[in-house]
């Protein structure tokens, strides 16, 4: 389109363009959805010893953050078989959690607990949290075990974890009887007596060691180690 004077044409087209631009901006901005960002943490635990739950009870993992306790996980520890070293019939259920018979040991399995808990679902991806450490055989002649929990709770200011024993019928959300506890701190395990030599701080994690709550020793025996990885991005430039 041409005119004698380019200016009015330019102005008219620019006005059309501005209107279109404004409308497009509004439209496009509404099409962009917001993502609910996880501000939580990864919690990794190696339980060196944890009694399997009897029927009617479960464990609950709490974190202490800013003076308050927040529940992270309710779970059951149970004996199960995930390989073929022991034939069925000895009383332990075969887990069939996908562990390859070549590589997996007998397990003490950690399964998520909810009021609709079903032990038969122990291998569902949203149920199985991990296993208690034990020495393995097969392709892994080393210690097997580990529990991983991804939580949406912000644990960057946590100063401790504790595990309680809860009746399955309990409705009170308050913590029950504590059995294990761990103080956690940024980069360094507060239970320094558990380490023969001082260790350098470890970046990006909170560390701690689980001990029995009623351990009378000056340096309690370790029942498990824990690392918390808060969901933070500490590098930009």
């Amino acid at each position: 389109m041409r005119s004698r004077s380019p200016y009015p044409v330019l102005v008219r087209h620019t006005r059309h363009a501005r209107h279109a631009l404004a409308a497009a901006t509004v439209a496009l901005s509404t099409l962009s959805a917001c993502v609910e960002i996880n501000r939580g943490a990864i919690v990794q635990i190696n339980f060196q010893a944890l009694d399997s739950n009897v029927a009617g009870e479960h464990y609950e993992l709490f974190a202490t953050v800013n003076g308050g306790a927040v529940s992270l996980l309710r779970f059951k520890a149970q004996d199960a078989i995930d390989n073929t070293a022991f034939p069925p019939g000895d009383g332990r259920p075969r887990a069939h959690c996908g562990g390859n018979p070549l590589t997996t040991p007998n397990v003490q399995l950690i399964q998520r607990w909810e009021p609709d808990f079903d032990a038969q679902r122990r291998c569902a991806p949203d149920q199985r949290i991990g296993t208690v450490d034990k020495f393995a055989d097969g392709l892994r002649p080393i210690l097997a075990g580990g529990v991983r929990l991804d939580t949406p709770i912000d644990l960057s200011e946590a100063d401790g974890l504790f595990i309680t024993l809860e009746p399955d019928t309990e409705l009170d959300p308050r913590p029950g009887m504590s059995v294990l506890r761990a103080a956690v701190a940024c980069g360094v395990d507060p239970l320094t007596c558990a380490y023969p030599e001082p260790r350098p701080p470890r970046r990006g994690v909170l560390l701690g060691t689980f001990v029995n709550v009623d351990d009378p020793n000056d340096c309690p025996f370790a029942k498990g180690r824990v690392a918390i990885v808060p969901a933070e991005d500490e590098t930009v430039l």
């Binding site: 962009s32 609910e36 190696n46 996908g98 296993t131 991005d233």
Partner: protein
């Protein structure tokens, strides 16, 4: 130019111009430009359509391949924006039509053959390293993958060769290493952002369209030879020969090339030697064992890549093009990070050091046959292309641990993977149609079929002690009828006897074929076919002389996933002169990769994540804004300055990830990206460029994405020391710091008598991988020996930066330490054209 494309299109431009090659055209156009109307109206006026495809009326000058502007047609004028004569400013991918990068409805970067040569790029991954917002040379699985990553999102690219999708469907990716020889590349068009409406599958976050050379690029014979050495690419050797010609008065055009590259691998140093590691879920986690000492890989057996490319064109309408690539690569670093060197116990109590390497074959072959023509007084264009692609995936071994003193692992573990041959056959039909009221309609249909069969896993488990636990009682073989495989007289165990045996697996039993020596084969992937069909429609409407709008829609169907509907919308506003503003909304999707849906969960030694046949496609939605301008044209010593800045916010949804050991759709991710590029062209052929990107991705499951850099810079320059004859180039890429979730060997404890250090799952650490500066410099001597000879020498990673790469998934169990990368190297090359 349109050798890669599916269709012809109009070129919107202002200046009628005869076709001449190279920089002479710039001068000619500039002269003409001063005599013709300028301004916004003139720039957006369509004068005449492009009739034919990419053959210049003047053959390219020998010794200067690629200088002829690709896309220059035969017969009829070429209509281009005056700055479009520079090949870098013409692009196909964004709109599936030929347009300028300033006007294309997307964020586009074009890298030409000349630029590839000038900057000394040896692989496409190095090319992409210099695109703002892209990480070109990113490792995964300790070098098994060498991939390009856009905006911090791996495996989100659609990779095209001459417009054909070559993204491998088993892993939704493709290593962009030496498999596509750079000397056979005409240009690479890089789109940052989704492109699903026009291009369909895999264009989730970006598109890399590699356009191979044709007869327009060479008239004669060209021979290339080179060599080099360094910590990345030891004892490298390269050679290529290419031939281009026309016959029967140009009715038949031929280009073909044969390229060979070989080296003895990278020098890779690990900070701790991994002996055995934890396996991925759903296996229970376990201790990893290390030796706390640095170790460096020895020289590999020679890796090699052999590739043939070709393009035969008949009567400007029918084109046959191909890439046939074959390869072998070797790695001493296994996918889990263990150097395959260990101490194998001997009978006399001593140990013997044994070194092994993996042998990989990820060959790629593709062939395409296309036909295109225009009708109805050039208002209707039709293009069809039939193609076939074959992928090979053989890794022997794929998973390995070295021999060690650990019980049952005295001979190590090797698990091979043979995915055999994966095929994709398809047909694309594309059209464009001029409609009234300044509408230009693009539409088309496509269909393709992917398949593979006989995908096996050939395992050499050199640990016979474990086999008794696998045997199924009642096997037909009387030696195993009791439920155990034969035991040796000393109480140990033997390998099962050759033959088919029933063995226990994850959730039942299966049958595996055993060979001598503890080798057995079973099915890794179920035989698979996937049929896909799609229809798309996009209309470019010139709402005003300075304003173009382009909505689009695509519907894609498959027998493997639910129908996918995609939308796009673009607004391109020529504010004034050569200043453009773009607003763009784009969607993309990625079908679930076959390794996530079709893996046989009952394979005997399958130690990977459980497959899930019910996965949904992953989707992206992106809102983008870009401002670009060409300024300071002819200002003093400046030929021009090209500026580009853009912002994009992208949401990824239904991401496929590992959820407790099984692939599942889970969560969303939001990605903010700011990118900028400035390129200064000086009279005399000098250049400076600088680009940068800021990227922040946050995930609903992982939180902030930490294992990709937030900030990257790239830049460089070219100086003509002796104009036309000698030029110097330097370039850099600065990659900001990243974080990697690993296990900390320093936090371990002595195991096996102190011989190794065991590291449990709670001993994680978030390592910071510091910023990397990859500096490159080179010299090129051109137009020697009567314009026939070009010599070049380049130094890469001059600061010998050895920073490793985090793994793709911020996990510690399998990838327990950062992935090492090679360092400094030098490469020299000579090219002669006859």
């Amino acid at each position: 130019m349109l050798a890669s494309g599916r269709m012809l299109a109009h070129v919107r431009a202002s200046l009628p111009l005869p076709t001449v090659p190279g920089r002479l055209a710039v001068a000619a156009m500039t002269a003409i430009a001063t005599a013709t109307p300028s301004g916004a109206d003139a720039q957006m006026t369509e004068i005449a359509p492009l009739v034919e495809e990419t053959t210049p009326t003047v053959p390219p000058t020998p010794g200067a391949p690629g200088n002829a502007p690709p896309g220059a047609p035969t017969g009829g004028p070429v209509i281009l924006e005056e700055f479009e004569v520079d090949e870098r400013n013409v692009v196909l991918s964004a709109a599936r039509t030929r347009t300028s990068i300033q006007e294309a409805p997307g964020i586009i970067t074009v890298i030409t053959a000349e630029e590839i040569a000038e900057r000394g790029h040896r692989m496409i991954s190095e090319v992409l390293q210099m695109v703002p917002g892209w990480e070109g040379h990113r490792l995964d699985s300790n070098g098994w993958f060498d991939e390009a990553v856009v905006r911090g999102q791996p495996r989100t690219l659609l990779i095209l060769i001459n417009g054909v999708n070559v993204t491998e469907p088993l892993r939704n990716g493709l290593s962009l290493d030496h498999r596509i020889p750079v000397e056979a590349i005409k240009r690479i068009e890089v789109t940052s952002g989704p492109g699903g409406v026009l291009w369909g599958s895999n264009a989730l976050m970006g598109i890399v369209n590699v356009i191979l050379k044709d007869a327009a690029d060479l008239d004669g014979v060209q021979v290339t030879a080179g060599g080099g050495h360094g910590a990345s690419a030891r004892a490298a050797a390269q050679g290529a020969v290419a031939y281009g010609d026309r016959f029967l008065d140009g009715d038949v055009e031929l280009f073909t090339s044969l390229s060979y590259y070989s080296d003895a691998g990278d020098e890779l140093t690990v900070d701790s030697r991994k002996i055995v590691g934890a396996l991925p879920a759903p296996e229970p986690d376990s201790t990893s064992a290390f030796v706390l000492e640095r170790d460096t890989t020895d020289w590999n057996s020679r890796d090699w890549w052999l590739a043939s490319t070709g393009n035969v064109k008949l009567y400007q309408e029918v084109t046959l093009d191909w890439l046939m690539e074959f390869e072998r690569d070797h790695r001493q670093l296994a996918t889990g990070g263990a150097i395959l060197r260990g101490e194998k116990p001997q009978d006399d109590g001593s140990t013997k050091t044994v070194t092994e390497e993996t042998i990989g074959n990820d060959a790629l072959q593709t062939v395409g046959l296309s036909w295109r023509r225009r009708f109805l007084d050039d208002s209707l264009g039709l293009s069809t292309k039939a193609y076939g692609v074959r992928f090979t995936l053989d890794e022997d071994p794929f998973w390995a641990f070295p021999p060690s003193a650990l019980p049952t692992l005295d001979e190590g573990v090797v698990i091979a993977l043979s995915a055999g041959r994966i095929y994709r056959f398809g047909l694309n039909v594309d059209a464009d149609l001029e409609l009234p009221f300044e509408n230009h309609l693009l539409f088309g249909v496509e269909g393709f079929r992917e398949s593979f069969s006989n995908t096996t896993r050939r395992d050499r488990l050199r640990t016979p002690r474990i086999f008794p636990d696998l045997a199924v009682a009642g096997d037909a073989d009387p030696s195993v009828a009791a439920g155990v495989f034969p035991r040796s007289v000393d109480g140990g165990t033997q390998c099962p006897p050759p033959g088919a045996h029933r063995v226990l697996v994850r959730d039942g039993e299966t049958t595996a074929d055993f060979e001598a020596g503890c080798v057995f084969t079973d099915t890794l992937l179920h035989d698979t076919t996937r049929a896909v069909g799609a229809v798309y429609l996009s209309d470019e409407w010139k709402a005003a002389s300075t304003l173009a709008l382009q909505p689009g829609f695509r519907m894609q169907f498959s027998d493997s996933y639910d129908p996918v509907g995609l939308f796009s919308g673009a607004l391109v506003w020529n504010v004034f002169a050569k200043l453009f503003v773009k607003l763009n909304y784009a969607e993309g999707f990625r079908p679930p990769e076959f390794q996530a849906t079709r893996v046989n969960n009952r394979a005997v030694s399958n130690v990977g994540y459980l497959s899930n046949p019910d996965l949904r496609v992953e989707r992206s939605r992106s809102t983008e804004a870009e401002i670009n301008a060409v300024v300071a044209e002819g200002y003093g010593v400046l030929e021009r300055i090209y500026l580009r800045g853009d912002y994009a916010y992208t949401v990824l949804s239904d991401l496929v990830r590992n959820v407790s050991g099984q692939f599942a759709n889970s969560g969303q991710r939001g990605i903010h990206a700011v990118e900028a590029l400035a390129r200064l062209d000086f009279f005399g052929g000098h250049e400076l460029w600088l680009g940068g990107a800021f990227n922040r991705a946050e995930d609903s499951v992982l939180g902030p994405i930490r294992n990709f850099p937030n900030v990257t810079f790239t830049g460089g320059g070219k100086v003509q020391i002796l104009p036309k004859y000698l030029e110097a180039m330097t370039g850099f890429t600065w990659i900001g710091p990243q974080e990697d979730l690993n296990r900390d060997p320093e936090a371990g404890y002595a195991v096996f008598g102190g011989r190794y250090t065991g590291v449990d799952s709670a001993e994680v650490v978030v390592d910071e991988i510091g910023a990397s500066i990859l500096l490159r410099a080179g010299l090129r001597a051109t137009h020697l020996w009567n314009d026939r000879l070009t010599l070049s020498v380049f130094g890469y990673n001059l600061l010998d930066d050895r920073n490793g790469d985090p793994d793709f998934y911020f996990e510690d169990r399998v990838q327990s330490r950062p992935q090492p990368k090679g360092g400094f190297s030098v490469f020299g090359q000579g090219m002669v054209t006859f």
